[in-house]
Amino acid sequence: MKTLARRDFLKMAGAGTAAVIAGAAVPISGFFAWTGKNALRFRAVAGMPKAPWPAYASYVIEGDVDLSRRSGNLVKSIYAGAPDAMSGIAFPGTVRSVRVTSVKQSGDSVVIGGEVTDRAGLLAGESPAFSIQIDRSSGLAHADFLGSKVLLKLD
């Protein structure tokens, strides 16, 4: 018996597929960290739908980016449960692997662009293009979910 991290499950379950990823129903926070001179790791989290509706699910974007090489890998997923009590269950069909293709840094802001690697799994009307704007000073990030703008927290 051992406890496996969400990331390990993503790898085992095969990110980008209709995956079920186990984990505890626990609070999940965002974070932002430098893992090298030009490398960062982050997790951005948003409860969905927006207030005043109680959050039923959590939108999570996480991964590693090499700013100098403008490369990296991200995963975006929708998990059952609000951020303060998120389960490890990703809604089938919502897990996407993203390959980073561009990085623009300006002051405290980093804009990361990429593309979904498994286009066959995209929903009707879902774009393979990906973008997230991270604002380190505010601890917030802006991304979209199926075309709608979403504000995510990094901490």
Partner: protein, 349 residues
């Protein structure tokens, strides 16, 4: 007076309607076994929906249905033998069970599992136990496409894997009510428990009868409340965070007086949410206690707050109700795979 938190009650879980964080799961991946999360949560006892409707073509009988295990068999492939699955009947409008059908399952042995149904009446029905007279025993659970139906006297019983009858644009709900993504549940399965009962087994006071379901889990030699549900999406829409767990850990009769983590009553919390969403705050005392009125002397119609049929569009009705008509539909309708006869749930996908 402050209500004990879910954590204080030892309930570090969140369970409720369809995929609303159904708790932790034990997974086997290769040679690795991972058992993550608290011991209380279990998709096998995570209630997805509750139905109560007159038997089509025979209004002297009723169909009671309790579905669990969202996304089955992905998260779990059998019923929990250490749980009690309850279909509770209140006959006099006090939100206390006067009759209770208690379903228990054997361990899975050689790929088979059987069910026993007890009917508790009177005070016994309101207690946390599996007592009562056996009305069904040794009923096989269905794991394949053909439903195995058990008939004992006036009772008919089914338990097993079936097509999930629920319909909802879940992604549209998450996507800021952009209801254009279609029915998320169209290809999903659940584990269904279906009972056909004579209306007489529900009591003689149809006008004050209501139904709700509950799952209990055994912990340290006693039974703890795990999940409960009556009308659709009540816990999902109205309760935030740990309040979902508190709501699951109390009985319906406590709904009017129990407090949330904010120190206000659930009634006040529901009224506040209704007001914020554009609905009528006075509806809070209609929605609570969270039981499903079921007058079996009248036609079943969820829109008329009388039971629930598989085809009732509970999401459209609920959206319109809680938003004061601001939202009217999620643009999806009933599935086409419902059976016209018992157990009514479609063939699993």
């Amino acid at each position: 007076m402050r209500t004990a938190s879910a954590t204080e009650r030892g309930l570090n879980k969140t369970m409720a309607d369809h995929l609303d964080s159904p708790g932790p799961i034990a997974l086997n991946v290769g040679d690795d076994t991972a058992n993550v999360g608290s011991p209380n949560g279990d998709p096998r006892t995570d209630i997805t929906d509750v139905y109560a409707f007159l038997k089509p073509g025979d209004s002297t009988k009723s169909i009671l249905m309790l579905n669990v295990n969202p996304l089955a068999p992905l998260l779990a492939s059998a019923f929990n033998s250490q749980a009690i699955y309850e279909l509770n009947i209140d006959t006099n409008g006090d939100a206390v069970a006067d009759r209770s059908f208690r379903i228990r399952f054997s361990d899975v042995q050689g790929g088979s599992q059987t069910a026993t149904v007890h009917l508790a009446v009177g005070d016994l029905a309101s207690l946390l136990n599996d007592g009562g007279a056996a009305v069904i025993a040794g009923a096989p659970v269905s794991f394949g496409p053909e439903p195995i139906i058990t008939v004992r006297g006036p009772y008919k019983f089914f338990a097993g894997l079936r097509s999930d009858p629920f319909f909802f644009d879940l992604l549209g709900f998450i996507d800021d009510f952009n209801f254009s993504h279609g029915d998320f549940f169209n290809d999903k399965n659940v584990f269904g428990i279906v009972l056909e009962v004579p209306n007489g087994s529900l009591g003689t006071t149809a006008g004050t009868t209501s139904v709700w379901a509950r799952t209990l889990l055994e912990q340290n030699g006693s039974w703890i409340r795990d999940d409960r549900m009556a009308r659709a999406a009540i816990n999902t829409v109205f309760n935030h965070g740990q309040d979902k767990n508190i709501f699951n850990s109390i009985d319906p009769k406590q709904d009017l007086t129990a407090s949330t983590t904010e120190g206000i009553t659930f009634v006040t919390s529901f009224a506040n949410t209704l007001q914020a969403l554009g609905g009528d705050p006075a509806l809070a005392t209609v929605l609570l206690p969270d039981v499903m009125n079921y007058d079996f002397s009248k036609p079943t119609d969820y829109g008329a707050l009388n039971g629930r049929r598989l085809q009732d569009d509970v999401i459209d009705i609920s959206l319109s109700l809680v938003t004061g008509g601001g939202l009217k539909t999620d643009n999806v309708g009933p599935h086409s795979d419902y059976l016209s006869e018992f157990p009514y749930l479609g063939t699993p996908h």
